[in-house]
Symmetry: C2
């Protein structure tokens, strides 16, 4: 149904990677470097941000002991035992916002998280979005282990590593989810 023949190779490569992104939950255990995490963080900060407020803050982790502690204490992040690193996307909820406006940090942190996942795919790394917000029982251990101040809310934990190859992208395209012009 979707004809991409008129697009340049450049575009096709980009869209191929976007569609190749998958939730990688199986890692080889090989460490990732600070340099690799820096590329991911740079991608995260290139996300759009409501009113350009950029409320995001990132904890980047390569220490085995910290990864293991998070895996121990989170109900949904056991893949950290085999991951080679992690990025924790947080929000600074103390930043001032204009009167009458809503805080959009959850949307901003979501866009940053997605950019990080896509960049990992482009670098032949694997990553997976594990939700922390809005679960208090997940926020508490992350706060404690990472020693976050009160105004910093942990939003997502992204294990990063070398994929074993077990995880594959899902084809979620569903034409019934498209309405043209109006409902």
């Amino acid at each position: 149904m979707i004809d991409m023949t008129s697009k340049s190779n450049y575009t096709k490569d980009f869209l191929n990677i976007l569609h190749a992104r998958k939730s990688v939950r199986h890692f080889t255990g090989k460490a990732v470097t600070r340099k690799q995490l820096e590329v991911l963080l740079k991608a995260g900060m290139a996300a759009p941000s409501g009113r350009n407020e950029q409320p995001w803050v990132f904890i980047a982790i390569t220490e085995r002991t910290v990864l293991d502690q998070l895996a121990d204490d989170l109900p949904n992040a056991g893949m950290l035992y085999q991951a080679g690193g992690a990025v924790v996307v947080c929000a600074d909820i103390s930043l001032p916002i204009p009167e009458g406006k809503a805080r959009l940090w959850s949307q901003d942190c979501s866009a940053a998280t997605e950019n990080i996942l896509l960049a990992a795919e482009a670098m032949n790394l694997g990553a997976v979005w594990t939700a922390v917000h809005p679960y208090p029982d997940r926020q508490y251990p992350v706060r404690k282990i990472l020693q976050l101040p009160e105004n910093i809310v942990p939003f997502s934990v992204i294990p990063v590593g070398y994929p074993t190859g077990e995880d594959q992208p899902k084809d979620k395209f569903d034409i019934r989810k498209i309405h043209w012009g109006k409902w």
Copy 2:
């Protein structure tokens, strides 16, 4: 600081497009095609989704009258007058979720919105995320114009079109937002 010399060209091209994405608010007025919007929608549905629930629904618009109506009635989407089309990302909030779990549609719709913005950049189109959720005074006109049922919540309106070239990407990289290992 970030050394990408060891990455393949493939990776660099992807990251270059990711970093070239900008909020495009100035369009030439040239129409976009259904085929172009379909590529964007496919990218949107390739986003990650909590518990793979895929609560997103999309309204794709090419009709001039509908674009103008939305521009008239929304406080933050005047760029629709010159846009060549639009995608409205919505959530079906009536889908069942497991007991004790949170609804993650706002995070899912954010990731889908970001994928659409990135795909537009890759296609040499321009796009911009205009927030609808959580503003009731923006949700109301979108609901009315697009005739959305009660269970469908409009999340974002994304004007899409050919950029005039006025809008440029911001460099938002800020090393102070990175903490290593812990806070």
